[in-house]
Amino acid sequence: MTEQQVRWTAEQVLALAPDDASRKAGGKLGGAGPWSQTGGSASGAVWGWCKGSGSKPYRTVVDLTGPAYTCSCPSRKFPCKHALGLLLLWAAEGLGEPAEAPDWAAEWLAKRAEKAAARSAPAAPADAEAARRRAERRAGRIGAGVTELERRLADLLRAGLAGQEQAGYGVWEETAARMVDAQAPGLAARVRELGTIPSSGAGWPGRMLEECALLHLLDRAWLGAAGLPEPLAATVRTRVGLPAAAEGAAAVRDRWLVLAQYDSVSADGRLTTRRIWLQGLEGDRKALVMDYGPPGRPPQLALPVGLVLEAEARFRPGSAGLRADLGDRFAAPAPHSRPPAGMSAGAALEEYGTALREDPWLDSWPVVLGPVVPIPGELGWQLADADGKDALPVRTGGGRAGAGLWQLAALSGGGPVTVFGECGHRGFVPLTAWQTETQADTDMGTGEPVSLS
């Protein structure tokens, strides 16, 4: 390869920024001004010196295949503004001919390559007997937690939901804490959710009953897991909160298109969860890759929307086969500007319904809708089939509405678009949109995905 790889877009770079301040600071460094000694290699790394306020310029290197970053600046943000600036510069103008990395950059890149090689080497066999004992102990604790939760639910239904509006949040917090003690974080999270429903507005008793019923279903499934088919049993284990290991699962190699990436922060603000949706371009399978960031740090894994990476994905058992971990990568990510094929509103709901068979606790299912027309409305937005009467309500709650929906409307201009999002019983959450090439008179053919954030 003599050609430098295809550059990313500014949006794709800015999507990596850990916060608004970094986005802005990085943007300022995205011009040639402060940079010198810049270069890039055909194998997917870029580097450069950035002049700061001190005498020594900062040395910034980005490995695009990760992407991973290193910089001699003291910032604890990740990536730092220099890495963002360098990527923006590269995105806007390129960095000249591909070249050999200079020593200061090559050293770090070599270390990364070494580590990657070490990672793919088989891990030392763990003490199987000790692990089995640990698992048994934990299963015992969870069992006790489940039994207690069942009692709690029965008490609730015996006395009636009507008192819940006054009961407040505290009762459920306490039960959630018990589930944490029982090492069942999945149950704890669901219990905490229960506590928020009585204050969620009209129709809450119905929603409360639904969630109680599904929680009860999960309890019963755990207690009877021995009798369940293995995939369903695995789903139950993950839903309760036992980590499902991807070890041993077959790796699926494909060219994975990044459909969406978004973060959510836990209620206490201590954990950032990043969800990355992928779709295999060959096998058409969807994958959800998750990464976590401790307080004040964004998750490390970042895959800008619209890139395609050739990699192996190892699917974890259970959860309707969505959760995956990325394994070996075979090439640096490259842009892909064709929208994936979309389906109708009815077909999307059918897919969700089918997926419920494998995981009855699924709140939503990833689908590409299209061509659809966004219909803004005061009481709620819809996405309607371009050639029919069917529509999906857009879920606007949860703070993910606003700007993204307007971008969606702007892209459509009242015409059809292709939209990726999460389709479920509470509505459709649009995450990414592509303009659809239909009107010959307007040159729409950009085909770039737009993240609806």
Binding site: L209, P393, W406
Partner: protein, 522 residues
């Protein structure tokens, strides 16, 4: 509540039981209730049907303009992202993206691009926050921006401005124009009048005449103001009638417009009055303000602190056609007339009035005479020492003349007073002017000043210098860039200048890149 169409059977009964509690209903355990509810909930989720689509929005009118090329789209996204949360503090050496946005918009408009659809919400938000961006942002946003603005109350300003063109009828569409003129909101009518005036000055006048008598005074004032564009002798009869308007402000604007038409009857009457007061023999201000003068727009009562007679004199001279002075002064040209000594302290009053007349009548010859040589010390100039007035006089000159005059001014007097004058020069600055500014900045640095004393000019230079100057500037900046070790030790003005020059160079380079991206073939 979920927005889907269907309800489902005995679910309501289950909810009713759950609300009351199984203790209060016979024949059922909580477990049985939960089992039944789980089945129902899953059945409902698995069997969800699509909702019926609501009324679709009318599609946006097509915009035949192309989207900008990809690198330019990226740049816009970057500029709009840089807009968010502008922080205070020292500016550092990086370009100020907020200041480049207007240039990007202007350049994109010159090339006939439309705004990238995905950027429309950010663009409208930017225009909402900054009124100065609105005309350009809305023009670029085009019909789709207008369509979008109708859906979101936050962007209602875009509908008021009348830009986007979708709402205004074609000026040739008589019926449409007449209907909007009769039924439109005030802002729409102002926009309509402006559009018609631009296309066909006489038609605008005719339109205005149809309803003139019934308009409110403040509306008459605004409408009259739209006649400034394309003002011609044809407007005289209408304006002459407006001199008899009930509203004093309307009368004043009518008189001002007439006096800007040197051939008008009002200009003739004012010339007659002015010539009686001013001549080579000296100045005799009017003794009274008669009714005729008042009808021609002369304001009788002076503002506090000014003498009546001087006040009247100023108004007469300001409104008299400048051509009338040649004969009165025995065939002298403007420069010579301005140089004639004026006795008894009337000089300031007279010259100020001539300045206003030169601006109003857009007379470059008189403007040049009143500006004098750029090398003259400002206080000793023939016409005016006021920089604001000088800037206005400069605006009557051609772009080349302006640049040359301001360049000379800067070479002679430095930058400290040049800010307003630079503001009226064409962007990017002409080569000579740009070099004068860079030289003056260099001189200021060498003289030991601090760059923030010149932050205004620096900011202008970032926006207005020809990007082609970047190379030369870099040489200037590099020439004195201190050794790293030295800079650490002497964190004085030098380091700040280095930073300021660096930012200037970086900004120019970014502007150059911006413009290249926008011209590159799609």
């Amino acid at each position: 509540m979920n927005g889907y169409g269907d309800g489902y059977g005995d679910w309501e009964e289950l909810v009713g039981t759950a609300l009351l509690g199984t203790d209060r209903r016979q024949g059922g355990t909580p477990e049985a209730l939960l089992d039944a509810a789980a089945v129902q909930a899953l059945r409902r989720r698995a069997g969800l049907r699509p909702a019926e689509a609501g009324p679709r929005p009318e599609p946006a009118a097509p915009d035949p303009r192309p989207e900008p090329p990809e690198p330019a789209r990226r740049r816009l996204a970057q500029l709009l992202a840089g807009r968010a949360g502008a922080g205070g503090g020292r500016r550092g050496s990086a370009p100020d993206l907020t200041e480049l946005l207007p240039q990007w918009l202007a350049a994109a408009a010159r090339h006939g691009y439309r705004a990238p659809a995905a950027q429309l919400p950010a663009l409208l938000d930017a225009a909402r926050a900054r009124t100065d961006l609105r005309p350009q942002a809305l023009a670029l946003a085009g019909p789709r921006g207008h369509w979008l603005a109708r859906l979101n109350p936050d962007w209602r300003f875009a509908l008021r401005s009348g830009a986007g063109g979708a709402e205004l009828p074609d000026p040739g569409d008589r019926e449409g124009v007449a209907r909007l003129w009769e039924e439109g909101l005030f802002a729409e009518r102002v926009a309509l009048l402006g559009a018609v005036r631009a296309a066909q000055p006489a038609a605008a006048l005719a339109l205005l005449s149809t309803t003139w008598a019934t308009e409110r005074a403040e509306d008459r004032l605004m409408f009259l103001d739209s006649l400034r564009a394309g003002l011609s002798q044809q407007d005289e009869p209408f304006l002459e009638r407006a001199l008899g308007d009930r509203s004093r402000n309307v009368r004043a604007v009518a008189a001002e417009l007439l006096s800007a038409l040197p051939g008008s009857a009002l200009a003739g009457r004012m010339a007659e009055r002015a010539l009686a007061c001013v001549g080579p023999e000296g100045v005799t201000p009017p003794a009274e303000c008669d009714q005729g003068m008042e009808r021609d727009g002369v304001v009788r009562r002076p503002p506090a602190g000014r003498g009546e007679r001087a006040w009247w004199l100023g108004q007469l001279v300001e409104a008299a056609p400048l051509a009338c002075w040649r004969d009165r002064f025995g065939g002298l040209g403007p420069a010579e007339i301005v140089a004639v000594p004026v006795a008894e302290g009337w000089a300031e009053e007279l010259h100020a009035a001539w300045c206003r007349a030169a601006v109003r009548q857009r007379n470059p010859e008189w403007s040049k005479a009143l500006l004098g040589a750029a090398t003259d010390p400002p206080a000793a100039g023939p016409g005016t020492a006021s920089l604001a007035e000088r800037a206005k006089l400069l605006e009557t000159l051609t772009q080349e003349e302006r640049a040359a005059w301001v360049a000379e001014f800067i070479r002679a007097h430095g930058l400290s007073e040049a800010f307003q004058l630079l503001g009226v020069c064409a962007v990017p600055w002409a080569g000579e002017l740009g070099r004068a500014v860079v030289d003056a900045l260099e001189a200021a640095r060498d003289a030991g000043s601090y760059p923030w004393s010149f932050s205004g000019v620096m900011g202008l230079a970032e926006r207005c210098l020809d990007p082609a100057e970047a190379g030369r500037l870099e040489a200037v900046a590099a020439e004195r860039r201190p050794e790293p070790a030295e800079a650490e030790a002497a964190a004085g003005a030098e380091a700040y200048w280095a930073e300021a020059f660096q930012r200037l160079v970086a900004t120019l380079r970014m502007r150059a890149a911006m413009l290249t991206e926008l011209t590159a073939p799609a």
